[in-house]
Symmetry: C2
Subunit: 214 residues, 2 copies
């Protein structure tokens, strides 16, 4: 059953970049849907060049804070998700995916071969190192957008955290040498009753200027 | 009122990259929420460096198709949204935004000055031309992720279209010289009953491998 247009519209207006979280924890059943939101995110070719790391350890969170403009959401929010992508997209990544297609859908490898070649041409051979990283980073931003929207309709607060030092995150979280690297993070939980930004008027250019027709 | 975890989870599983749309049109009330989803998308600093162009004109859609790997969604879907960002982020863009903050929230310009300086340092002076474009493109991908998630909970089908020729889009849609350029597109509408992909098993790496804990 779909959600009503009214409730979704309300959720999108209710959402804001939460500056101050309180200590309430997201219930397991709700968190499960947010986890699913991450792994079900659509990606280019379906390649899923990512890993999402939920930092629970308070000591690690405390270490990340100074590398995140000292934003308190890093330590206060119920959940902190760090978005990482493959440092490099190789033929092995493509093969891992085509093998998964073959297993899940029961399709023989030779039928997937043209698609495998398309991915190799498009992402592995067709992009240089910087191009691969940027392609992968964009996929992470789809996941970020989907996660924040899904959270809003579930009445979970979020704050995207772009102002982080990815290299420091990689160091502190031990990503170096794992084949994954940090791009962005997102805090999730519940707004504190005294977060003054919760009441602030949303600042948006008029929809008619931003969404136009041709 | 929030949506139920069950209905949101079902929506995320129901969604797939729709290959074949039928001719049904998205009702106005539903489209209005999808439009809002675009303009309410969270962005870095709140700067909204974007314009979303809904291509209604069938002749224009037909012209775009050959520059979109001939995907039929371009002409068949109820709505086709082209995601564009500012070709360059200038001090004028930042000023336009701070003026809006001042107007909407009734805050005097001098109180916003530190924030204005932060944005100038972070995006206008702090990034070269390529860095600005990539920063802006990532913001568009938040909008894309949010749009697809919101559509799913409203039982609207989508297909993100990354396989397009942005330069040709700019030419055909007359964006050259407007200060905006195409990055990606998204088709929205209703899956055709004979779209074989609608029944295909979703191919995802196990959630426990993709969402990990520390």
């Amino acid at each position: 059953m779909s959600s009503s247009t009214t409730s979704v519209s309300q959720a999108l207006h209710w959402r804001y970049a939460t500056k101050k979280f309180d200590t309430r924890k997201i219930p397991d059943a709700t968190w499960e849907v947010l986890r699913q939101s991450l792994s079900l995110t659509p990606s280019s070719y379906g390649l899923q060049p990512w890993k999402f790391v939920v930092v629970e350890n308070p000591a690690l969170r405390a270490k990340l804070k100074p590398h995140s403009w000292d934003q308190t959401q890093i330590v206060d929010a119920s959940h902190l998700v760090v978005f990482t992508h493959r440092t490099e997209i190789t033929e092995a990544d493509v093969n891992r995916f085509t093998q998964l297609i073959s297993t899940v859908r029961g399709v023989p490898a030779e039928k997937i071969e043209p698609y495998r070649q398309m991915m190799l041409g498009g992402v592995v051979k067709g992009k240089d190192a910087a191009g691969q990283k940027e392609w992968a980073a964009r996929q992470l931003y789809i996941a970020l957008g989907q996660l924040m929207a899904v959270a809003a309709v579930l009445e979970i607060d979020t704050c995207a955290l772009e102002g982080i030092d990815p290299a420091k995150y990689d160091e502190i979280l031990g990503f170096k040498g794992t084949g994954y690297q940090t791009v962005v993070a997102c805090a999730l939980g519940y707004r504190a009753t005294d977060d003054q930004y919760a009441q602030a008027q949303k600042v948006r250019f008029p929809t008619d200027q931003v969404v136009t027709k041709l």
